[in-house]
């Protein structure tokens, strides 16, 4: 009930700001396309890369092929559309796995400290010592090409950032008088973590995670582009760009449209994350409401 009310309020705030609304529409559109792509694509066989149509290769954008066709005569529009599904799976998978590992590690290390905390944070530091993209490349190359391997590789290079963030937040918040008050009120450690520490420690992490959705899509595209990501003929955006750039002089549309899809989606996620940060915090929310001249 209360959660619902909160969500409605946040949504209400986002809708009132044009740029946030655009971001919301982009992200919403991306998610819907991601879910429905298999049923939306005009040429399903082209989209999944099962059919070739060599005599129709390199045809420029037309009504029949909105984004033109590629080197094998496949409809680029269908492939970009279906690519949204893979990007969505990657973004949700990577961030989801990274949060599932990162949050408990950070909260436990931050709250209990001592030997356990030290151990967990040193492990985190070990991962942070590698440049994340390099670590992801090494992992992806070791695990082999494939969607699941790509997600795992990215998640492994990603979680330490969250555990570090949650650790710092937990460490500050556990010393707040309201946590002492909760102890004095007789709450169990589990309830203190669950009701006070995690909700307060998570705001920056959730914002970071929302922001990172865009980066995850971008990094996955990067890995696919250099050839350690998904296997062709999977229509992943990075792979599509990589397939298209060789023939960019002949047919600009093959690389351009998947690139544009990446740009629009990533921008949408970034703008939405900004809007979320502003409205998820009850204190910041008040200033926004005042700025918009709305009485609470």
């Amino acid at each position: 009930m209360k959660q619902l009310e909160e969500t409605r309020m946040v949504l209400n705030l986002i809708i009132r700001k044009p740029i946030s609304l655009i971001a919301l529409i982009i992200v919403f559109g991306f998610v819907i396309v991601g879910f429905l792509a298999p049923y939306l694509v005009p040429y399903p066989e082209d989209a999944w890369g099962l059919a070739y149509n060599v005599e129709n290769r390199f045809s420029p954008p037309s009504l029949q092929h909105l984004f033109g066709t590629d080197a094998l005569g496949r409809d680029v529009f269908s492939r970009v559309l279906l690519g949204a599904r893979f990007s969505l799976m990657i973004a949700v998978g990577v961030i989801g796995i990274a949060l599932i590992i990162g949050i408990p590690v950070g909260v436990i290390a931050g709250y209990y400290g001592g030997k356990i905390g030290n151990f967990l944070m040193r492990v985190t530091d070990m991962f942070l010592a590698f440049p994340p993209l390099l670590l992801a490349i090494v992992l992806a190359a070791t695990l082999g090409r494939g969607l699941l391997n790509l997600i795992i590789a990215l998640a492994i290079s990603w979680w330490p950032w969250y555990s570090r963030l949650v650790f710092i937040q937990t460490n500050t918040i556990k010393n707040m008088p309201y946590v002492d008050s909760a102890k004095i009120a007789g709450l169990s450690t589990f309830r203190i973590l669950y009701k006070h520490i995690i909700p307060n420690a998570l705001t920056p992490t959730i914002v970071q995670a929302a922001l990172d959705m865009g980066s995850a899509i971008l990094e996955a595209a990067g890995l696919s582009f250099i050839g350690v990501g998904v296997k062709p003929p999977t229509p992943e955006w990075g792979l599509l760009v990589s397939e298209g750039w060789q023939s960019i002089n002949v047919a600009w549309w093959i690389a351009f449209f998947p690139g544009l899809a990446i740009l629009v989606t990533v921008t949408g996620f970034n703008l939405l994350a900004d809007a979320l940060r502003e409205s998820a915090d009850p204190r910041l929310r008040r200033t926004i409401l005042m700025r918009l001249g709305i009485k609470q």
Binding site: A182, K183, H196, P282
Partner: protein
């Protein structure tokens, strides 16, 4: 004779100072160094001292937010320093606290009704409706109407927020409430209201208070007994009136003379202690106050003074009053 509710016996709390790569302990901060006192049933005991004197550490030890290095804290019949499980929960119900800054002691993400129902839910099996009734009644007791139920702490004024913190502390009908600088973060006009509320609640609910403060004007107003603490040791202890009328310890005298008084028009010469209080890492040998004391004697540097009774229930730790 009033029964002691809480007895603190030779309480010590040392914080280790770690240095170097392997965190070797190189010394201790002696925040509280052998403190003994008791809070009687139904009384208000004030603990007065400068910042760094260890008064908040004492509160944290009694509230079991920190574990004492040594000593006993006896509540009712039993030592509570090592309890856990159901006994700990029972103790939590009896001993509550109000902290200095209500905006820090109330979770910014919770509404007033959640804040107030939290202790109730932790200790009692109540239906949703019973909880709501109790929360409404609590708000009534502290003088706020039920429209405050769904507000966030940041929507309240300092006084209102502190009232909510007080309401949470009394929600479980405790015996003892520890007030850690309950008014220092508030406007002067609001301070009086909060103090009145506290005295009123004490009568109504039969509470005892252990009040920790550096503000001597509130001490005089509210407390039955006063204890002056300096660098982790008690300097003087006695009925509030006696302490204010006839302070014995040089430190108490200096503290009291620093209180501005609008009635005395003559420009009395104020005695101001020389310098800063020494570090609790290496507290002075002998009497802790000798480095700043106007009447220090050679003996003070060597030996810790004995506690001397100068009047009924009035104790002083100073060589000036030890009968030779």
């Amino acid at each position: 004779m009033k029964m002691p509710l809480l007895r603190v016996l030779d309480l010590r709390k040392y914080f280790p100072i770690k240095a170097g790569l392997f965190g070797k302990i190189v010394g201790y901060i002696k925040a509280v160094d052998g403190v003994t006192f008791e809070v009687k049933d139904g009384e208000v005991l004030s603990l007065v001292g400068e910042s760094g004197s260890g008064k908040t550490t004492i509160a944290k030890n009694i509230l079991l937010l920190e574990e004492p290095t040594s000593g006993q804290i006896i509540f009712g019949e039993s030592d509570i320093t090592k309890i856990s499980g159901r006994k700990l929960k029972e103790y939590r119900r009896m001993v509550q606290a109000v902290f200095q800054n209500p905006f820090l002691s109330l979770d910014p993400r919770m509404r007033v009704n959640e804040i107030l129902s939290e202790p109730l839910m932790a200790h009692m099996k109540l239906t949703r409706k019973e909880i709501e009734e109790r929360v409404t009644r609590l708000l009534e007791i502290i003088g706020l109407d039920s429209s405050f139920m769904y507000k966030f702490p940041h929507e309240l004024s300092g006084g209102q927020a502190q009232r909510i913190a007080i309401a949470r502390a009394i929600a479980l009908e405790p015996k003892l409430v520890i007030l850690d600088e309950p008014t220092s973060a508030l406007d002067v006009s609001v301070q009086a209201q909060i103090l009145n509320l506290l005295s009123e609640l004490k009568e109504k609910l039969g509470l005892s208070y252990l009040m920790i403060t550096h503000d001597l004007s509130i001490v005089k107003y509210i407390s039955d007994r006063t204890m002056v603490i300096y660098l982790g040791k008690i300097m003087e202890e006695g009925p509030t009136e006696k302490i204010f009328e006839e302070p014995h310890h040089p430190y108490t005298q200096i503290l009291l003379s620093s209180v501005p008084d609008i009635y005395s028009r003559k420009s009395e010469k104020k005695t101001i202690p020389r310098g800063e209080p020494p570090s609790p890492v290496n507290p002075p040998q002998g009497c802790r106050f000798h480095t700043r004391c106007p009447s220090a004697m050679p003996l003070c540097k060597e030996k810790t003074p004995l506690e001397t009774q100068v009047d009924e229930g009035h104790l002083v730790s100073c060589w000036l009053y030890v009968r030779k």
